[in-house]
């Protein structure tokens, strides 16, 4: 069929620019604890000292098998009573509760 042939030609065409869009959602929450319960289980995989801030940033990945969601958690530099949690991706499974 003509449409199939057209699809395969486009895939092999040389592109000048590759564009990728990352969707993130950042939550600012007033909290004494840094890790807030969001109904999912997480595994920490990184820690980084952030420029101009005394507070470290921790990196987590969803521990569900094959789930691509990542999050980063840090305390707001300007107002330390707030915690900033930034999520990337959507879960491909149900939450714990």
């Amino acid at each position: 069929m003509a449409s199939v042939a057209a699809a395969t030609t486009t895939a092999s065409a040389v592109k000048k620019e590759k564009k990728k869009v990352n969707e993130r959602v950042a939550f600012k929450t007033e909290s004494e604890v840094e890790v807030l319960d969001d109904g999912f289980k997480w595994r920490k995989y990184g820690k980084k000292m952030v420029k101009n801030s005394p507070n470290p940033r921790n990196y987590y990945k969803c521990s569900a098998d094959g789930c691509p969601v990542k999050k980063r958690v840090e305390r707001d530099r300007v107002d330390p009573s707030f915690v900033i949690t930034t999520y990337e991706g959507s879960h491909n499974h149900a939450s714990r509760n």
């Binding site: 040389v14 592109k15 000048k16 620019e17 590759k18 564009k19 990728k20 869009v21 990352n22 969707e23 993130r24 959602v25 950042a26 939550f27 600012k28 929450t29 007033e30 909290s31 807030l36 319960d37 969001d38 109904g39 952030v50 420029k51 101009n52 801030s53 969601v69 707001d76 530099r77 300007v78 107002d79 900033i84 949690t85 930034t86 999520y87 991706g89 959507s90 879960h91 491909n92 499974h93 149900a94 939450s95």
Partner: protein, 95 residues
């Protein structure tokens, strides 16, 4: 500066949606936005009446870094210009 012609330019856009919420509604909103079948809408919005106002206008979200290609001060402008929370919530539940 010489450049390798065979390598295409890679452009990465980071779209960060900002949400301010209280600890009580945190879990449900996170699941709405990042759970299975989540629908992430364009533009910032606010839930559960946790007012952004009352803070110094010089306060910057994410420590003032251009983390998402959006300057932190735009966050202040988003909240000043957005419609009342009740209306936003109604619009949101219609989708």
């Amino acid at each position: 500066m010489s450049r390798v012609r065979s390598e295409p330019t890679k452009v990465v856009f980071i779209n960060t949606q900002y949400v301010q919420t209280d600890a009580r509604s945190f879990k449900s909103i996170v699941q709405e936005l990042t759970g299975k079948n989540a629908v992430v809408a364009e533009g910032p919005f606010e839930f559960s009446g946790q007012g952004y106002g009352g803070k110094d206008s010089s306060q910057q979200f994410l420590g003032g870094r251009r983390e998402a290609g959006v300057e932190a001060t735009e966050f202040d402008r988003f909240f000043r210009e957005m419609p009342p929370v009740g209306e936003l919530y109604n619009l949101w539940s219609e989708t």
